[in-house]
């Protein structure tokens, strides 16, 4: 899941080099440079990829502090479906 998340970040940022630069401890806003527009489209792409629905009201930037943390958030979302 970590690899797929990083691939999607690189796709959203239109920067293939991020696939090699990012790892599970990377911060999605600082290390990947995602702005609010990128984040919305990233979440949308994640929903499509993992067939889950992210509750917009319960999502905050804290979930993006690391790829690992975000992956955990996705797992919790998938479990609640």
């Amino acid at each position: 899941m970590i690899t797929k998340i990083i691939e999607i970040i690189a796709e959203i940022k239109e920067d293939p080099s991020l696939v090699n630069k990012l790892n599970e401890s990377s911060d999605l806003t600082h290390d990947a440079g995602m702005d609010s527009l990128n984040i919305i489209n990233f979440i949308l792409r994640i929903e499509e990829e993992f067939d889950i629905e992210v509750d917009f009201d319960h999502f905050s930037l804290e979930h993006l502090q690391s790829v690992q943390k975000f992956s955990q958030f996705i797992r919790e979302m998938a479990a609640s479906v």
Partner: protein, 277 residues
């Protein structure tokens, strides 16, 4: 795919040029007046929105929440945005008949516009229960479906001849899923009509020209498209049995299209479901 571009039809011949230009200057003037009047509300809402969005990218602005809770404010906003003749936004629609599922019917403004047309049986769908209740209370429709089109609905398959997204397509989160459900509900040979405003030039700054979602302080989390990116996005999302039949552009003279920040135009895309073999 057939593309009809009627953008010039609103300002076509020399005899009408002066009248059309006056109309455009008129709505631009109205936009300036409305903007001056409403700017305290707009900027206060935007300030609060930006403050919250730093932590919560999907934060719903107070203005959007107000419209969701009290749809009468939504109607008011529609009148302001589509000034001078709000109902004209529906004039671009092709003829409707039979069982028509209206996705995102809101309070039933289209039902009101077409109330004299007896050969349409509307199925009214919206995710906002407050809007549906108000539409029913005001007698614009008798029944409604409280549902999202991008999730499986309780409607039976092949229940409608047409599915209409009248200025609601940009609010739908997952278009692929919406088309799959629409195709299930649509009879063979039936049509899907998407009428939506699009921006005249891209705002994303992206290297590639594609539609994207953004959180707007006055419209919530919505898709933003240019004409080209809308068509490309629809083609990308369509299941095999649905095909684009026509694309029409008509830039109507109203405040939203001729606002001084983000000029827009109105697109109508007609999709056709393949006949059963």
């Amino acid at each position: 795919m057939i593309i009809f571009d009627t953008s010039e039809q609103m300002m076509p011949h020399k005899s009408n040029d002066r009248f059309s230009k006056l109309g455009i200057y008129g709505v631009q003037g109205v936009f300036i007046i409305l903007f001056l009047l409403l700017s305290p509300v707009y900027y206060l809402n935007k300030w609060d929105f930006k403050r919250h969005k730093k932590r919560k990218p999907f934060y719903t602005s107070k203005l959007v929440r107000l419209q969701e809770r009290y749809p009468v404010f939504y109607e008011l906003a529609m009148y302001v945005q589509n000034f001078p003749i709000p109902r004209n936004v529906y004039k671009v629609l092709p003829p409707l008949r039979g069982d028509v599922l209206q996705v995102g019917c809101g309070t039933g403004l289209l039902n009101k516009y077409l109330r004299k047309q007896k050969d349409i049986r509307f199925l009214n769908m919206d995710p906002n229960l407050n809007a549906l209740k108000l539409g029913k209370k005001w007698g614009r429709f008798d029944a409604y479906i409280h549902a999202f089109i991008d999730k499986p609905t309780s409607l039976s398959e092949h229940c409608c001849d047409m599915i209409l997204f009248a200025r609601s397509f940009h609010h739908i989160r997952h278009h692929k899923k919406a088309f799959i459900e629409s195709s299930r509900l649509l009879r063979d040979g039936g049509s899907i009509i998407i009428a939506d405003p699009v921006v005249l030039k891209s705002l994303s700054g992206s290297k590639t020209e594609s539609g994207y979602m953004a959180n707007s302080s006055i419209d919530g989390v919505i898709w933003r498209f240019t004409k080209e990116s809308l068509i490309a996005h629809i083609e990308h999302c369509l299941p095999a049995e649905l095909k684009i039949e026509s694309v029409t552009e008509t830039r109507q003279v109203h405040v939203t299209n001729y606002n001084l920040f983000v000029p827009q135009t109105d697109i109508v895309v007609v999709l056709r479901k393949r006949e059963a073999v």
